[in-house]
């Protein structure tokens, strides 16, 4: 939860709703370019959505024309360019602030093309006049359920750790689910004042298959009557303190124990409120609230299970104001589902459940921009993240009032898909360690990133020597990222599963936020230039070696340590190399400089001379000193120009009718397909499939700590794979049972692969 929007109520206490002063740039950000507004007004919260564009700097590399005179000793030049990207903004606040917010928007909105605002939710009608008057926009109402489903599809498709199961007594309480590549079909149980049960079969096909009138309104209404407590949150508080067994008639109250022949234990509720029918006594508010909560949660859970069974659906998501992040109701619903399905179905909840309606309404209004055609990624710098709502941490949910929650999503350049060579895409978890679950690892890595922050700030400033305000911006970056690290320390689940990768991503997002597109660009440029000078020499000395010596030397350049290595399947690899060449190798590369030029390229060269085609894959955007796609393109062109063997690569790849390098996604977020400008999904899938399938890729090489150890260490591929890395972190080395600078050389052949080399691969 963003604390930045806390209401300043010191100024005036009686008209709080009118007096808040909003920090302009922190909540309704990028309003000046905003268009396509949508609003979802619920019973207590308003969710506003708009589309905007963000101008930010990107680092570009451009090859010097080496044919002209005035040759530079540099291979390429770096320029920082302005780029405009699309961003979706979603803001959630209490209905009490709606007027103030509308005023603020009116005052800051520059774009005048906007004529309508899409609206949904029960309150849309009530506030229609106010919105039209304040904003001068026509309110265009959209069906609530349609918006909800559209929003749900959108978050499931675009946010990797959107869904989670809730386990009250586990640490962490939230267990995120890897989204199945195919999100359909699923059941959405929306518990508002009543319950709607919707079966969603595809993007456009959904059906309300049932519902129930016993829902959140029943808990609230009946609860208010029974306990004289007015607020929903307070009722939940009461319930969390009560003992339902004082009010409910249990099996043991009837049987004296369990009903054994049916396997019903004594603690089961036989009749909700059954004791208040017979016992002539006073019941405590807490006990009644608890009994009511169980009655309603169990009833909804039971119906949901009956519908899930009838329609043969196993994915059941719960949403609506009854759920909305309340641990008490998530727990009782989870319990009920577990009970009625004997653990076969898990109740799933969504991190951005509160935004679904607003997202859906926005998408309805933005159909002509075709937002569903793109992939969108959660911007960790601009999103509040999932707050902990544990009663212990947040004794009164009231504390939430006055805070604004935000979600920002960036349009990604390319559609992201999984690598087709994964053995099982649905169970593929890129990250080796889940820092949400592993408290020790979390502690360590949060410390690491915090410790490294000064260095990053320095490098950021140094990367923009001609910009005097860089230091100031870098300081803002430091504060923002440090705050994120603090948040993650207390709420490691804020953005889904916490991983080293997500910590890196968060840092990149924060750097971008403050216009430091590539702090390492200068360093990389330098290293590349130097390394390139030694390329010819390195190749020459390798060629002088015997075949077997050369194979080892090629690997040795990468790994720099004597055998035996921590993970060492070099012998198997060597045996394999004695066999026929691979058809096509897909090589995921890591760092700039020596690593790519003197390590990877000679290795690639060797593969090429064996007759193996090679496809190189790199990041599209900057991450530390990783070689980016732009840089790689220039580097390989340069190397191809001076090395006849690599020439082959270029020619060969050009025949594939894509640009010279094909960069393929392995990890959903980090590696992006980078061969065609904005391919449509079908086109992308086709290209991706073409490269991997038509080139008959039968070897995947993953190099570097980030790709081979932090991620993909356990990834199972459907073809041969080689993972190579030096563990440059003593803690991690220790975790994996080695020492600092231990080497991982992991050559794997998929199980059941009975190639003609299997005999050779078995150690004799």
């Amino acid at each position: 939860m963003a604390e930045c929007g806390r209401v300043d109520c010191r100024t005036s206490s009686h008209t709080m709703d009118k007096s808040i002063t909003l920090p302009p740039d922190e909540i309704f950000r990028n309003l000046e370019n905003a268009k396509r507004f949508a609003i979802d007004i619920g019973g207590s919260l308003t969710k506003l959505a708009y589309y905007s564009t963000v101008q930010h700097k990107v680092a570009k590399v451009r090859s010097f024309d080496h044919t002209t005179k005035a040759p530079s000793d540099k291979l390429y030049e770096i320029s920082v360019q302005e780029e405009v990207t699309a961003r979706l903004h979603f803001i959630k606040f209490e209905n009490a602030y709606i007027e103030t917010c509308l005023d603020f928007i009116r005052d800051h909105l520059v774009n005048t093309e906007t004529k309508v605002i899409k609206a949904t939710g029960g309150g849309a009608h009530k506030f229609k006049e106010l919105i039209e008057r304040k904003l001068g926009l026509k309110v265009d109402r959209e069906d609530e359920m349609t918006c909800l489903i559209k929003g749900c599809n959108f978050v499931l498709r675009n946010i990797p750790h959107e869904a989670f199961v809730y386990a009250k007594h586990a640490d962490p309480e939230f267990r995120f689910q890897t989204t199945h590549p195919d999100i359909f079909p699923y059941l959405l149980v929306n518990i508002g004042s009543g319950v709607s049960i919707v079966k969603v079969e595809s993007e456009d096909k959904f059906e309300r298959i049932g519902g129930s009138s016993i829902g959140g309104g029943t808990f609230w209404g009946l609860g208010a009557l029974l306990t004289k407590t007015k607020r929903f949150d307070e009722l939940l508080q009461l319930a969390s303190k009560g003992q339902h067994t004082n009010v409910d008639m249990l099996v043991k109250d009837i049987y004296g124990g369990s009903y054994r022949s049916l396997g019903l234990t004594g603690d089961l509720i036989a009749s909700s409120f059954g004791k208040s029918a017979t016992a002539d006594k006073e019941f405590s508010k807490e006990d009644m609230a608890k009994s009511l909560l169980h009655m309603i949660s169990n009833d909804i859970g039971q119906l949901a299970c009956l519908y899930a069974k009838l329609h043969n659906l196993s994915r059941v998501y719960f949403g609506g104001f009854f759920i909305r992040g309340h641990p008490v109701t998530m727990h009782t619903i989870t319990y009920s589902i577990n009970f009625f399905t004997k653990g076969e179905v898990q109740a799933l909840f969504l991190r951005h459940e509160g935004y679904l309606g607003a997202i859906g309404a926005f998408l309805k209004g933005a159909e002509e921009d075709n937002p569903n055609q793109y992939s969108w990624g959660e911007n960790y710098a601009g999103s509040s993240g999932l707050m902990s709502v544990s009663p212990e941490m947040n004794p009164m949910q009231r504390a939430r009032s006055g805070t604004f929650d935000m979600l920002e999503m960036d349009r990604l350049d390319r559609q992201l898909v999984n690598l087709p060579l994964l053995q099982d895409p649905s169970s593929y978890i890129p990250d080796t360690m889940d820092l949400t679950e592993d408290a020790l690892a979390r502690e360590y890595w949060l410390y690491c990133f915090e410790d490294a922050l000064d260095g990053v700030v320095k490098r950021a400033v140094a990367s923009q020597p001609d910009m005097p305000e860089a230091a100031e911006r870098a300081e803002k970056f430091r504060q923002k990222y440090r705050h994120k690290l603090q948040t993650l320390r207390h709420q490691p689940f804020a953005y889904g599963s916490l991983t080293v990768r997500s910590l890196l991503d968060t840092r990149e997002h924060c750097l971008n936020e403050f216009n430091f597109p590539d702090p390492y660009s200068k360093i990389k440029q330098n290293e590349n230039d130097i390394a390139l000078r030694y390329y010819g020499k390195a190749v020459k000395s390798l060629e002088e070696l015997s075949w077997e010596e050369r194979q080892f030397a090629l690997v040795r350049v990468e790994l720099k340590a004597e055998r035996p290595w921590l993970i060492d399947s070099y012998d198997q690899w060597l045996e394999r190399l004695k066999g026929p060449p691979h058809k096509c190798a897909l090589f995921f590369v890591d760092n700039s400089g020596v690593d790519i030029i003197l390590g990877v390229m000679p290795f690639v060269r060797e593969l090429l001379s064996r007759g193996t085609e090679v496809v190189l894959a790199s990041n599209s955007g900057p991450a530390l000193n990783d070689v980016t796609n732009g840089e790689l393109q220039i580097l390989t062109e340069r190397i191809a120009a001076m090395d006849p063997v690599v020439q082959l690569l270029r020619t060969e790849i050009q025949n594939v009718d894509v640009m010279c390098l094909v960069v393929v996604i392995l990890v959903q977020r980090k590696y992006e397909y980078n061969c065609l400008p904005l391919p449509s999904p079908s086109r992308l899938d086709k290209v991706l499939a073409t490269v991997v399938r038509e080139r008959q890729t039968d070897l995947v090489i993953i190099e570097g700590m980030g790709r081979a150890i932090h991620t993909n260490y356990y990834a199972m591929l459907s073809c041969e794979s080689l993972k190579m890395a030096v563990i440059k972190n003593s803690w991690l080395a220790d975790r994996l049972g080695g020492k600092l600078f231990s080497v991982v050389f992991k050559y794997e052949v998929p199980a059941g692969e009975t190639s003609q080399f299997s005999a050779a691969l078995t150690p004799s």
Partner: protein, 432 residues
């Protein structure tokens, strides 16, 4: 009786969310059929009311009895539920002079006490209108009486049994329902009575089939509502429960059990819900201060639930056409009570009515889903929640018909709450 989700989420009990705590879900139960061939004779088949050849036993024999296997009088069947104790008593009307002479004083006194009164103590009641006449059971002809009293008055009953030296007549008393287990030791200690405990669902089905088979004259045992969706023309009509299988049997007591019945001895408990008669009365007591079921029903009959519930039209101004929801459908039970003003404007009668409607519709909704999942079209509702509760019966009839588009038929039985006790009585006659 019904067992819904166990709701205890205390730290201690939460850890054992083990399958043992869970009821047989329909999944587990599918393919599970209770077949008890050795008790085949225990369930009266078809319309047979004639004598049956009973297995011999060690029961005391009456010297003058031709039927040496017949248990001694008095013949009782008992069902001790969470709220009510149901007692059926067979009064022999073919007692010969010789027999009468021999009849011990205690037995005579019990017979006279039960048959000459219609109320016992302050809370015991004999449902005279349900009495079945000239019934032949085990070769004896007589009347079957139906008596009920609250479970919390069981100690009074036991005291009376003790005072009347009930134990001198009998050594076993057939009883079912949870109370047969819970109070077993009380029966022994307080009244020197040994209970023969029986499964309540076995008894329920056996009793229901038996009563339906023996009622031939007078009002039909089974009935339904014609034109359930048209309040002006909704009429109760007799129904012949021939070829009843498969049927969904919904027993609404304190809680609800839903059974899929394929034959006399072949059934499974599909599911249950804790939102039952106990919930209706419990909530009514808390909301209105009433104290009896009759009072709660009386209030409900005078109230208006639409002041309490939020209807579809309250939200959408009319029908929610996109999803085929009519404006009159309840969108949120008690939904209007979220508003303070509306809470202050409703009457106790309105609240009682809303409670009744909420509980009834919910049972209807779960029942309908079970019927769909089990592929059964005939639904029989029984249990004491339906006693003098035409309101709920018509609501159920309506709900079944409307939401299934006429596919499902809701059936009701006159002796709605007594089948468990009847089943227990039959067991006495067939196994003693």
């Amino acid at each position: 009786m019904a067992f819904n989700g166990h709701g205890n989420d205390d730290d201690t009990t939460d850890n054992d969310e083990t399958p043992t705590k869970q009821p047989r879900s329909s999944k587990e139960m599918s393919g599970y059929f209770r077949v008890e061939p050795n008790k085949e004779a225990a369930a009266p088949a078809g319309r047979a009311t004639s004598d049956r050849q009973m297995p011999s036993s060690t029961a005391r024999r009456r010297s003058d009895s031709v039927r040496k296997t017949r248990p001694p009088f008095p013949w009782f069947g008992m069902d001790i539920g969470g709220t009510l104790v149901k007692l059926v008593y067979f009064e022999p009307r073919d007692i010969t002079a010789e027999e009468e002479q021999e009849e011990v004083e205690n037995l005579k006194s019990i017979r006279h006490y039960l048959t000459s009164n219609t109320a016992y103590g302050t809370t015991g009641i004999r449902d005279v209108h349900l009495e079945l006449h000239d019934l032949t059971l085990c070769g004896r002809t007589g009347n079957l009486h139906f008596i009920r009293f609250p479970t919390h008055d069981l100690p009074i009953f036991l005291q009376m049994a003790r005072n009347k030296h009930f134990s001198s007549l009998h050594t076993t008393l057939c009883a079912t329902g949870g109370g047969a287990y819970k109070f077993e030791s009380d029966f022994r200690k307080m009244a020197d009575l040994q209970l023969h405990k029986l499964d309540e669902l076995d008894c329920l089905i056996r009793g229901m089939l038996y009563i339906d088979s023996v009622v031939s004259s007078g009002p039909s045992e089974c009935y339904y509502f014609e034109n359930p969706t048209d309040p002006d023309h909704c009429i109760q009509r007799p129904y012949t429960l021939e070829n009843p299988y498969p049927l969904l049997l919904v027993n609404i007591g304190s809680g609800v059990s839903i059974l899929a019945v394929y034959s006399e001895n072949n059934y499974k408990r599909v599911t249950g819900t804790s939102l039952g008669g106990g919930t209706f009365l419990g909530l009514c007591c808390l909301l209105t201060g009433c104290s009896t079921f009759e009072e709660a029903l009386e209030m409900a009959s005078q109230g208006e639930s639409t002041r309490v519930d939020k209807l579809v039209r309250d939200i959408y101004g009319g029908d929610y056409e996109r999803f085929g929801l009519p404006g009159w459908a309840v969108a949120s039970s008690f939904g209007n009570m979220m508003s303070k003003e509306k809470r202050e404007s409703v009457s106790k009668e309105d609240l009682a009515r809303a409670t009744l409607v909420t509980i009834t519709n919910n049972i209807g909704s779960i029942t309908r889903m079970c019927a769909l999942n089990e592929n059964i079209e005939k639904v029989v509702f029984v249990g004491n929640f339906l006693r003098v509760n035409t309101l709920s019966m018509k609501l159920l009839a309506y709900a079944m018909d409307y939401w299934s588009k006429g596919q499902l038929k809701a059936l009701f039985l006159r002796h709605e709450g007594y089948f468990g006790a009847v089943g227990a009585l039959l067991d006495l006659l067939h196994t003693s």
